[in-house]
């Protein structure tokens, strides 16, 4: 099962490699990874997605907790959260398809960020399912390149 794990950690050299080392040392793959500073410049937030059964993910979570530089670990699967990822997709856009690409992008609320005579680079943001949908629809037209940020995720605030 896919898990999104969010880790708050000290913003120091070597910390990322401690985290990734836990995964590589156990032969687990990281599917996506995204790290940046939080509102506190001494703290970074790392979001990663991985696959594994619950016992493996529980073990990973505990091992992450055990790292001295880790402040907090949240398995986002266990909370209500907002999940986003951004992709920049370069898609073939020639005479017959330029308008269609624009229409599709508009439906997904994406925007064109680079234009050339034969292609558009478009930016799309959303949960992983939305990115999959847009990629599936653009694929027959001809995708030339995709760059993705990896998932970021934030717990929803309590409603009451």
């Amino acid at each position: 099962m896919r898990h999104v794990i969010s880790v708050l950690l000290q913003n120091k050299p070597g910390v990322l490699s401690r985290v990734t080392g836990l995964f590589s040392g156990r032969g687990f793959n990281i599917e996506s990874l995204s790290v940046a500073q939080t509102i506190d410049p001494e703290v970074s937030c790392l979001t990663l997605t991985t696959k594994g059964d619950d016992m493996i993910v529980e073990q990973i979570t505990k091992q992450l907790h055990k790292l001295i530089d880790v402040i907090k670990v949240t398995d986002m699967n266990e909370t209500e959260s907002v999940e986003r990822e951004m992709a920049i997709i370069r898609v073939k856009a020639e005479a017959g398809t330029r308008a269609e690409v624009l229409r599709i992008i508009d439906i997904f609320r994406g925007k064109v960020v680079d234009v050339s005579p034969k292609s558009y680079a478009v930016e799309v943001t959303g949960p992983a399912s939305k990115l999959k949908a847009v990629i599936d629809i653009l694929r027959p037209i001809g995708i030339q390149e995709i760059v993705r940020t990896g998932v970021i995720s934030m717990s929803r605030a309590k409603k009451s």
Binding site: Q10, G14, S17, R18, G21, G25, M55, E58, Q59, K62, Q63, H65, K66, I68, D69, V70, I71
Partner: protein, 564 residues
């Protein structure tokens, strides 16, 4: 007033209560050695190989109950410590290892004797540091000692660039180390304690399974009190030996691959397994689905990641073992009168006694041939069971674990998790430094002793009267045993066709060498060694193809033991 980084280093060690360190000098740490030679507050023990410095610090830490310290230079000095660090990590031993590093401006330049030791040791340390700014030196050292000794203890490495140690700094005042991200849980959750106690009082066939955590947290008294109060039989892991008196009638000795028949049977048939500071290692559990299949499992451990790692736990208690056991004893004392309850396990203890009678821990005598187990028994007898025993790894380790019935924590030093051949002798030197008045014996094989034999010089230089008992069978015995049992006696690379004359070797270093070739010579040799105030090698020429039994073949259930 400003002082140099090297002076601050020494001041820091003093502040942490360190009086002995083990090390080997080199260019990157020459400033520190310059200062070490000017002070007498810290004794530096010059080993002959950096691996030995770490094992010695490990042995020292186990016996003294304090953080052990090693100091080495950059590059090869640093890489040579890796085995020792990994061993201390597996066994949760508190040590701090200082490695020299090239000056900060050269880091990453492939400078002479440069190696990324922080990167190399990341997976085998509890934490590690590269000190890049002189003002970080003192706070880093303080934090490192705090991390090493608290929670689940472990090794911490600090990489010290030459210019950091050479810089002039203000020595900051000692403050209590406070860390935002590291706060181990010592106190057990009362609700979990209650659940555990209720399960214990309900159980008909309980077994206590005690691991290294009992020794590390000094929980032996609390454990003994709990076991005796309710008459619960106790088995120990290799690391747990000494955590409960081995000669107590409730002790079933060690469990697992080379555990006793009755301990393994008792665990397999138990209805409640009380795991205290143990981690369900594969050498203990055997085939995991057949391990304690009918038992509810209580697991006390300070490290939450140990819980439900290998075996699903029913009642976890994340806490220091001593605190948790104390809380359980208090709860039970309030609820029941042990006098009414102590007899509840009588039928269960009878059953275990029957298993014990059927297959006691034993070996076959063979005329005047020396059996290795006999040597260990004699060592026990002639030291009154009061020696500190270290071991190498292999058959010697298992025989020492089986036949020297340890009564005190901190009296059995072995590389349990990593299984390092060459651990025992340097660890014994460290132990002897920590307890100069105790008898310290390294039970060794003729193979493993050669992995750090150079430390005879260290023992001589510092007047460490460590006794080495070589169980000499001319083989790498444990591998040979596996080849005998599982590879049609294809003794590939296990016969040691050439070995030194160990008696002459001891003498060459200025120590004493003794040899016993027959059973009747064993006792006189041990007696002679014990009264010698010098490092002694006892070369016991033992029966060549003796095996360690019982044995659970790897991957089998623990009830499927090969017996003598």
């Amino acid at each position: 007033m400003k002082i140099s980084g090297a002076q601050a280093f020494i001041k820091c060690l003093q502040e942490q209560g360190v009086d002995t360190i083990f090390g080997f000098p080199g260019g990157a740490v020459i400033e520190i050695y310059d200062e070490l030679n000017k002070t007498d507050v810290i004794k530096h023990v010059l080993v002959r190989h950096e691996q030995a410095a770490v094992h010695a610090a490990d042995g020292y830490a186990r016996v003294k109950g304090e953080v052990g310290v090693a100091l080495v230079t950059s590059g090869p000095g640093a890489t040579n410590t890796v085995t020792g660090i990994a061993s201390a990590y597996c066994d949760s031993i508190p040590i701090v290892v200082f490695t020299g590093q090239v000056p900060t401006q050269l880091i990453g330049n492939d400078a002479f004797q440069e190696v990324d030791i922080v990167g190399i040791t990341r997976p085998c340390t509890k934490h590690n540091y590269l000190v890049k700014k002189p003002e970080d030196l003192v706070p880093t050292i303080r934090e490192a000692f705090h991390i090493a000794r608290t929670g689940r203890p472990g090794p911490v490495l600090i990489d010290l660039p030459k210019d950091v140690v050479g810089a002039m700094i203000n020595f900051p005042e000692m403050k209590q180390v406070k860390m935002r991200t590291y706060r181990p849980t010592y106190e057990p959750h009362p609700g979990q304690v209650e659940k555990a106690c209720k399960a214990i009082l309900k159980a008909k066939r309980p077994v206590i399974y005690a691991g290294g955590g009992v020794v590390l947290s000094d929980a032996n008294e609390e454990l003994t009190a709990l076991a005796r109060k309710l008459n619960i039989p106790v088995t120990m892991t290799l690391m747990g030996l000494g955590g409960f008196p081995g000669t107590d009638s409730l002790s079933m000795g060690m469990l697992g691959m080379h555990g006793t028949y009755y301990a393994n049977m008792a665990v397999a048939k138990s209805d409640l397994l009380i795991s205290v500071g143990a981690r369900f290692d594969d050498r203990v559990t055997g085939r995991i689905d057949a391990f304690a299949p009918d038992a509810k499992i209580i697991h006390i451990d300070i490290d939450p990641s140990s819980i439900s790692k290998n075996v699903k736990v029913d009642i976890p208690i994340v806490a220091d073992c001593r605190h948790a056991l104390a809380a359980m004893n208090t709860w039970i004392d309030r609820k029941i009168d042990p006098a009414d309850h102590g007899g509840k396990t009588a039928a269960w203890l009878e059953k275990i006694a029957a298993w014990r009678n059927k297959h006691p821990l034993a070996y076959k005598e063979d005329g005047d041939v020396i059996k290795p187990q006999f040597v260990v028994e004699k060592l026990h007898e002639l030291t009154g069971g009061e020696a500190i025993i270290s071991t190498e790894v292999g058959q010697n380790q298992m025989w020492a674990a089986q036949f020297y019935h340890f009564n005190h924590p901190g009296s059995f030093l072995t590389s349990g998790g990593l299984g390092v051949m060459g651990y025992g002798f340097p660890a014994a030197i460290g132990a002897q430094m920590a307890a100069p008045d105790r008898t310290v014996i390294d039970v060794a094989g003729d193979g493993s002793i050669q992995m750090n034999i150079q430390e005879l010089a260290t023992a001589r230089q510092y007047g460490c009267p460590v006794k080495i008992a070589i169980l000499n069978n001319g083989y790498l015995g444990m591998v040979r045993q596996w080849q005998e049992l599982f590879f049609d006696k294809n003794y590939s690379a296990t016969p040691l066709d050439v070995s030194p004359d160990f008696v002459a070797l001891a003498q060459a270093y200025g120590g004493v060498g003794l040899r016993a070739k027959t059973k009747s010579e064993v006792e006189p040799v041990i007696r002679e060694a014990l009264k010698t105030d010098n490092v002694v090698i006892m070369d016991f020429v033992v029966s060549r193809e003796e095996g360690v039994y019982p044995m659970v073949p790897a991957g089998k259930a623990t009830t499927e033991m090969l017996l003598v």
